[in-house]
Amino acid sequence: MPCKILEKERLIPGQTSKLVIDAPHIAKKAQPGNFVILRVCEKGERIPLTIADADPERGTITIVYLVMGKSTALLETLDAGDSILDLCGPLGRPTHIEKAGTVICVGGGTGIAAMHHIAKGHHKAGNHVVAVIGARSKDLLLFYDELSSFCPEVLVSTDDGSFGHKGLVTDLLRQRLETDKTVSEVVAVGPVPMMAAVAKTTEPFGVKTTVSLNSIMVDGIGMCGACRVSVGGETRFACVDGPEFDGHKVDFNELRQRLAAFKPQEKLSYDHHCKCTCAGEK
């Protein structure tokens, strides 16, 4: 059943967009940490995207994506009023949320949007949520206002120092952990190197660290095993056992290698798409 896009916001023009989609059946069940699988067109690939927000009353879910291959490039051609051909969810286990005190939610790049839903869940459960977000520069920083609307603290780092701390999110995280002993959990969503660095930073402090993994998936419903990751030496499936795992136990090196499995095909597909769209076929 196609689902209609109600709003589209170009957060970073040509690179990152936010869609609010009419999907009451998913919105009703969606919890922090869940994701959807979508397919843009008849010949399209199934791709997983984390739910950045859900409004069960309005019957909508929000997704944020980075244009990085053919499927997201196709998604970027859609506007408010258009429909997504296939949208399926909510998938994955929800984030484990309980009232635990202070929770630091770290987000990098597009992962900030995915982290937003988790941070909101912790806030609603009565936790003191500290958001730590990073980007290359100020104009590439996502969801600052959204997070500021409920997080008592939003700490920012940028690579070029154009906003907040000049440096990495892990600098801010380490400073905080050194001075604040009330932190009960750290959640990280973002690029693999960032999540690996967060896990490494928190380890000496012995703070529980949860990471949300963006493995390659085909069905997203526990059938194919494409998304398998090694966690504490055991093979787990991100789609049905995750996508969130103990960051101190994830084999990030293997994850990075598995994410690169289809790089040549992804490039071929994207180039093919660009050639076709430039020729006006679309």
């Binding site: 010949k43 690939e45 199934r46 399926c88 419903i221 059938m223 494409a226 049905v240």
Partner: protein, 481 residues
């Protein structure tokens, strides 16, 4: 009519040899994804149908999990009554075009045929396929007219099926033909379950066969809802709250099993589910026209000996592999695949690496698969099941280069619906427990069948389970026999 001419009168009559199935030549078919077996012509079908002895007490029917009145449909076909033959099959089998292609007939109807004593059973599967294909090729009006024999569907008598594979399609076919409104919920974007994501196009054409069988159900007012995940988008309780009177769970096989050997998470090692889903559901054979990619292996190894292993091996050949080996730890005699699949695979050039078991996969510095170490095996004493179990030959290992490995050693239950429905009683192996007579689960009016009950099995066994549950559902909703 050569067949009749060769026949002698009853008593000491001579039976003509079984009519061969025309196939695409092996050299040609490994370069395409079109169907391998081409189907009987009318003359071939008539000739083969006339070989049937029309036994008073037909054993073939007892060999069929869904009790197709085999003798009767073959009798009708021999007389040229195609429509009668189709209706006879359809009276118990919702998917004849599928079953004629994928059933292990040698273990079922044809295995039970009295002519099998001489190794020449009536080609029941091929005849079933002929009837289904030929009937479906008729004008659409003919199909619609078939509906007139069904009672009107009562919109109040609603039944939900979770999953749209062969078990659920059978439930839908049986109940909708008896006036019950069925809605089928499918988690993927296409209807058909394993018929679509698992069995390759060259063995079961999707648009020509599966879609038509589904379309026939639509004309019986069966509704299909895709992208709807049982246990995530909705729960079993939600269905009852929405007014469904009974629920059938046919969610199929689940998580792939892996071998548990080092190097299994290298890129280039796939589960058969992933490899086949990419190619079949994602149409990766047409990449980049279709967006789903798949690995193009040069030296492919496939682990396992069932139909899924054969499908993966033959798919790899068609995608351009230079060599494809099926690695199996027993001998050829124990290979569980359907005979025809093994024959076709060997004709096409698939190599059997028998009495061998993988012990480790090896990769390069980028984590890409480059080779495998195999342990030589021998057959030991028979185990509890009577099969001789393979044991390693001490110290005898060897290496093979491989850049694409496909693991086809079965599946475990999919946890999604089971975790969301804790009231379901599960077996020791984690599958759903059902009443053997009715297919009912531990939740009243919730039935289950197919791989989620038995573990990975065949299409026809799933259909048999669907039929059993459907009979009980009909009895409860409409009463009588």
């Amino acid at each position: 009519m050569t067949a009749t001419a060769e026949r002698k009168p009853a008593g000491g009559r001579k039976i003509a040899p079984r009519v061969d199935m025309p196939c695409q030549p092996a050299g040609e078919r490994i370069r395409n994804f079109e169907e391998v077996a081409l189907g009987y012509t009318q003359q071939m079908a008539t000739e083969e149908a006339r070989r049937c002895l029309q036994c008073k007490n037909p054993k073939c029917v007892k060999g069929c999990p869904v009790e197709v009145p085999i003798r009767d449909f073959i009798g009708q076909l021999a007389k040229g009554d195609l429509e009668g033959a189709y209706r006879t099959i359809k009276s118990t089998n919702s998917l004849p075009g599928v079953c004629g292609r994928v059933c292990p007939q040698e273990n079922q109807c044809e295995g039970a045929c009295v002519l099998n004593a001489k190794g020449q059973p009536v080609a029941i599967g091929r005849l079933e396929r002929y009837v289904a294909d030929t009937y479906m090729a008729l004008d659409a009006c003919d199909h619609l007219s078939a509906k007139l024999t069904c009672p009107a569907v009562d919109p109040e008598l609603r039944v939900a099926c979770i999953g749209s594979g062969p078990a659920s399609l059978t439930v839908a076919g049986y109940l909708s033909a008896r006036g019950i409104k069925v809605t089928v919920f499918e988690a993927l974007h296409e209807v058909g379950g394993v018929l679509v994501y698992g069995i390759p196009e060259f063995r079961l054409p999707k648009s020509a066969i599966v879609e038509k069988e589904v379309q026939a159900l639509r004309t019986q007012e069966v509704d299909f809802v895709t992208n709807w995940v049982g246990g995530r988008t909705f729960s079993v309780d939600d269905l009852f709250a929405e007014g469904y009177r009974a629920v059938f769970i046919g969610v199929g096989a689940g998580l792939p099993r892996f071998l548990g050997v080092p190097g299994e998470n290298l890129t280039g090692v796939f589960s058969a589910n992933e490899y086949l889903t990419r190619v079949n559901l994602g149409r990766a054979y047409a990449f980049p026209d279709y967006d789903t990619p798949v690995y193009q292996g040069r030296n492919v190894t496939v682990y396992g000996g069932g139909n899924v292993a054969m499908d993966a091996a033959r798919t790899a050949l068609r995608l351009g592999a230079e060599s494809v080996r099926i690695v199996y730890r027993r001998t050829r005699d124990e290979l569980p695949a359907r005979h025809e699949e093994l024959e076709h695979a060997e004709e096409e050039g698939v190599i059997l690496e028998l009495l061998a078991n993988p012990v480790a996969f090896h990769g390069d510095e980028m984590g890409r698969l480059t080779g495998v170490t195999l342990q030589r095996m021998q057959l030991g004493e028979p185990d509890a099941s009577g099969r001789r179990s393979p044991v390693p030959v001490e110290g005898d290992t060897y290496d093979l280069p491989t850049d694409l490995a496909v693991i086809a050693v079965g599946t475990r239950p999919n946890p999604i619906l089971l975790e969301a429905t804790p009231q379901l009683t599960l077996s020791r192996r984690g599958y759903i427990e059902v009443d053997e007579e009715t297919g009912e689960t531990s939740i009243p009016n919730v039935f289950a069948g197919g791989d989620i009950v038995t573990g990975a099995a065949t299409v026809i066994l799933a259909m048999g389970a669907g039929r059993r549950a459907a009979k009980e559902i009909r009895r409860r909703l409409k009463g009588g026999e």
